[in-house]
């Protein structure tokens, strides 16, 4: 029996990291929004690592924040330890990572959703989606029917979820919450092509059972740099993490029992992430490696559960106990939750366009693991974009498409919808060809104006941004004009840094440019330096030092953007274009790129094929 329960502009299925950003963006843009979650206590859950950010992922969090999303702020509020990774490897790869209190994070996010105007949080399993021409009907297991203008699917690992621990396997979502068992069938009936992916998580162990005495410590960075441009309070590190290693004994236990792993016995068919292999995967694939590293991370302030990063497994529980106990510090560890692998349904993202809307199904969007990605940050980024675009569509406005040259978010989405994902997609700095421009320090410059235009950036936040830009421009101007005289004092500094002394006046900017020097080193001879946010100095220093490389990348961006202005019709049958190679015809017909630039990134489409398209377009 079904009954009519209400009308909404936007329905979001799932309240994980993707669903949260999608729902908040949609509601904040004035759309009446409903969010469905299978379990009200699982909103914003972190079923794997208790941390947010990391290489490239930290960039994503910064970008989400710059556009007006929530993840960065909440991560700051719930942070236990903060580190800036990759210092010394260059500004393009600096990345923030926070250890967070996972229960607090979940609670904080749930509360934000509850307080949000235009937003209703609803515990129910969605079982059916119907395309009704102009609107969508969403049906729950209780028979409640909702009429909505747009639907965002953000089902994570719940959709058709199945957990594997050795020979044991059962239908389940993450953390023992029940899965979504009916929606998959409904999506197939719509014509979406689904496939199985797999991921996994390590065991959680009791803190008091770990012997930390011989383990290396990993402390947070001081002072703490926050994710959010809104966070003004000085945050404090509250915990330390520890490092340990597997050994020959661990390896032996795993190899002796490898036949009991569902991955190797053939029980699991889903494709696992290359970047996040289980320990048995690492040991089999990299058999010459003597040991593997693990990090012991606290799950929160009010719990004794510790997360064992790097030790995910799907071996039987008894084998897990054995190999965990073989590791230094864990000899007597009490395993509170075993490691498990989880297999789930996700969609082939080639069916979507860059707004994350399904090409064949107007008003239907996807985000997060459902789209074939992996990771909280990747999910949140897509949720934000899907939420914004669903709202813009409802409001009758032009969609927001972020390009590769402007953000990691744009790169992530373009990769998914253009190249597809053959295994769960993780963001990496090496995926961006423009990484010297797309830095975590300038996310606000790149995206806050866009967030403002869309309507997610408040006046206060925007004015703060404008003020910072103004100060930066003034400072840049100052160092370009300021001449440093060739005094003994400056030359002593130069010589001590092993760079040549000056004989005539030198522009301050040219001194900063030298690889051996920095803003900090030149402080004492720069007497009229203004008292401004040190981040501004950092940003200017990067722009000055990397000027040549940045210019080069900007020229490449210009070229790419020109290609992207040439639009390709969505209903085009590429088989009718003579001159295209067969492989190119097939790929193009499958992906239906928006423009020439996107077409040129499809694997299997050669430069010659692009020439043919150029000519076809001009006819």
């Amino acid at each position: 029996m079904s009954y009519f329960r209400g009308k909404f502009d936007v329905a979001v299925i799932g309240a994980g990291h993707a669903g949260i950003e999608a729902a908040l963006a949609s509601a904040r843009l004035g759309c009446k929004t409903i969010v469905f979650t299978i379990n009200m206590d699982a909103v914003g859950n972190c079923p794997c690592n208790p941390s947010i950010g990391g290489t490239a992922k930290g960039h994503l969090v910064r970008e989400i924040d710059a556009l007006g999303g929530e993840m960065g702020k909440t991560a700051d509020e719930c942070m236990l330890q903060m580190r800036m990774l990759n210092r010394g490897k260059g500004p393009a790869v600096h990345s923030l990572r926070a250890q967070i209190d996972r229960r607090k994070y979940s609670e904080t996010m749930k509360h934000k959703l509850e307080l949000q105007e235009n937003l209703q949080l609803h515990q129910a399993e969605v079982t059916k989606l119907d395309e009704c021409g102009g609107f969508w009907r969403v049906t729950t297991r209780m028979g409640a029917e909702f009429e909505v203008g747009a639907v965002i699917i953000a089902t994570g690992t719940y959709l058709g979820g199945r957990i594997y621990i050795g020979e044991v396997s059962y239908e389940s979502g993450p953390d023992g919450i029940f899965p979504a068992t009916f929606l998959g069938e409904s999506l197939k009936n719509l014509g979406l092509s689904l496939r199985r992916f797999k991921t996994g998580t390590p065991a959680r162990v009791l803190k008091s059972s770990i012997d930390f005495s011989d383990l290396e410590k990993q402390e947070g960075d001081e002072p703490v740099i926050p994710f959010s441009y809104d966070t003004e309070e000085q945050l404090q590190n509250k915990v330390v993490c520890h490092i340990s290693w597997t050994n020959e004994e661990t390896k032996k236990i795993i190899l002796d029992n490898i036949h009991r792993s569902p991955l190797y016995s053939g029980m699991i068919h889903g494709v696992g992430p290359r970047y996040c292999p289980s320990l048995e995967d690492k040991i089999v694939r990299f058999s010459d490696k003597e040991r593997h590293q693990l990090f012991i991370e606290p799950c929160g302030e009010n719990t004794e559960e510790m997360y064992l990063q790097g030790m995910s497994s799907s071996l039987p529980e008894e084998v897990q106990l054995k190999f965990y106990h073989s590791i230094k510090g864990l000899e007597n560890a009490v395993v509170m939750r075993p490691a498990y692998a989880i297999e789930y349904d996700c969609v082939d993202p080639l069916q979507m366009n860059n707004t994350l809307e399904f090409i064949e199904h107007p008003g239907l969007y996807g985000a997060g693991q459902f789209n074939g990605s992996s990771g909280y940050e990747e999910a949140a980024a897509q949720g934000l974009v899907a939420g914004i675009n669903a709202a813009l569509k409802i409001k009758g406005k032009e969609p927001m498409i972020l390009d590769r040259a402007g953000s990691y978010i744009g790169t992530l989405i373009d990769d998914l919808v253009t190249k597809g994902a053959n295994d769960p997609y993780r963001m990496m700095t090496s995926r961006s060809e423009y990484r010297l421009i797309l830095r975590q320090d300038n996310a606000d410059e790149r995206l806050t104006p866009i967030g403002r235009e869309i309507g997610l950036i408040t006046d206060q936040r925007y004015n703060k941004f404008l003020k910072k830009q103004e100060l930066k421009a003034l400072e840049m101007n100052r160092i370009r004009k300021k001449v440093i005289a060739p005094t003994d004092r400056i030359n002593d500094i130069l010589v001590s840094r092993e760079t040549s002394p000056i004989t005539t006046g030198a522009k301050l900017v040219d001194l900063i440019k030298r690889p051996q020097l920095s803003y900090e080193i030149l402080k004492e001879i720069d007497d009229d330096r203004p008292d401004i946010d040190p981040n501004i100095f950092e940003q200017i220093e990067i722009e000055v030092k990397y000027e040549g490389y940045i210019k080069k990348q900007l020229a490449q961006v210009e070229q790419m953007r020109r290609m992207e202005k040439k639009l390709l019709p969505h209903d085009l049958d590429y088989k009718t274009i003579t001159g295209l190679r067969l492989e190119a015809q097939e790929k193009l017909n499958k992906i239906h790129p928006d423009n020439l630039g996107q077409a040129s990134r499809i694997s299997g489409v050669s430069p010659a094929d692009i020439s043919v398209l150029v000519i076809w377009l001009s006819k």
Binding site: C48, N49, G54, T55, A56, L85, N86, G88, K89, G90, P91, A92, V93, P273, R274, Y275, C276, P277, K282, R285, F286, Q293, F295, Q309, G310, K419, M428, T429, S430, R431, E433, R435, L436, P515, Q516, Y546, Y549, Q553, A555, E558, R562, K566, T578, G579, S600, R601, I602, S603, G604, S606, P607, A608, D609, S611, V612, V614, I615, L617, S618, K619
Partner: protein, 454 residues
Amino acid sequence: MDKTIAAISTPLGSGGIGVIRISGSDAVAVADKVFKSVSGKKICEMKGYTAAFGKIYDNNDQIDEAVATVFLSPHSYTGEDVVELSCHGGSYITNKVLTTVLNNGAVLAQAGEFTKRAFLNGKIDLTQSEAVMDIISAKGRAAARSALSIKDGRLRSEIDEVKSILVENAAHLSAWADYPEEDIPEVSGRNLLESISSAEEKLQKLLKGYEIGRAIKEGVDTLIIGKPNVGKSTLMNLLSGCEKSIVTNIPGTTRDIIQETVVLGSAVLLLSDTAGLRDTDNPIEKIGVDLAKKRLKSCGLVLAVFDASMPLDENDHEMIELLGDVPSIAVINKSDLETVIDIEYIKRKVDNIVFVSAANGDGLEELTNAVGELLGTAQFDENAAVISTQRQRECAVAALESMKEAVQALEIGMTLDAVTVLLEEAIQSLLELTGERATEVVVHNVFSKFCVGK
């Protein structure tokens, strides 16, 4: 802004006229660097749709006579500023003019790029004649075919060797940056330098193969130099088999550079006889001498002629110093007369030395062998010229540039993120060379080579 591009716009190999088209915001400036009109009017002073007669110069060397036609933006085929240089046809001259244009700031147009620009600038529309479009799309298909045939061939495997070195390094750098908390071995600057240098060397070798291939097909610029009256013209006549230069024993008779194409064993030489190298007050002769000195720097082979019957003098010494790194052979002429010259001294300075008597033809075989050895044409298997077109060469040179920049960035102490970007740029150019698309080469390599994971 887009780069200014150039290409030969007429079919290669045949035809009385060859057209080199230059398009882009610097087209006029580039053309002004290589073209001097007879009237003295510069191209930047010309109006659109006008033409001028003049000469093409590579630095100060005249290459050919040409007509320059100017089209100013937006009234041109591409919609940008366009200059077309119509010179004499034939692959040697047109390639030479194109190379000069490329050396002066233009980059080689990719297949279909003029049309692409015309389209991007809204110059081509539906009303455009079908016939024109057909010709161009045929070109696109030809390019596609050649990309395919290259794919399976030797070029692919040779380039892959260079590429795999770069990809491995880029992947190591990426793994090291993207997984800071895995125990990925630190990337050492020195190893990186050595590795990039070895890739650089391999690519240089392939480019060298291109040069040799061209030397066989199109000839190598060869200069005969020597002080007056050592027998340069006699040697030239011996090599070319007919009397071209005015042969007298009055020093300074040959004032202009006289050119002749000769086949010498395995090599084709584009032979120039020059005015004798000596300090002179005669202004006309002086011009000839200066010209010869300049050409020496850009030619592919020098035959430095000495008179065996005379001791080395100041002019000879100066000439030996001038040779520098240019591939050279010391030709000791008049071997039929009594040897007075200091052979040991020449041997110390010049690697290759041959004795001839230009007058009676002795030593011609030795000279032929020495030329073949030095140019590498003697043992050269033509199939080994894996880089065979200007476009491929252009991509290889671009890759080499990026590799050099990467080395430079390492040397001045730039952070490794900048180095990584340059390596990826080089990989990109190599992928373009083989007609592949960059997919996820580096990322894929990270996952197959490194044990990484959260």
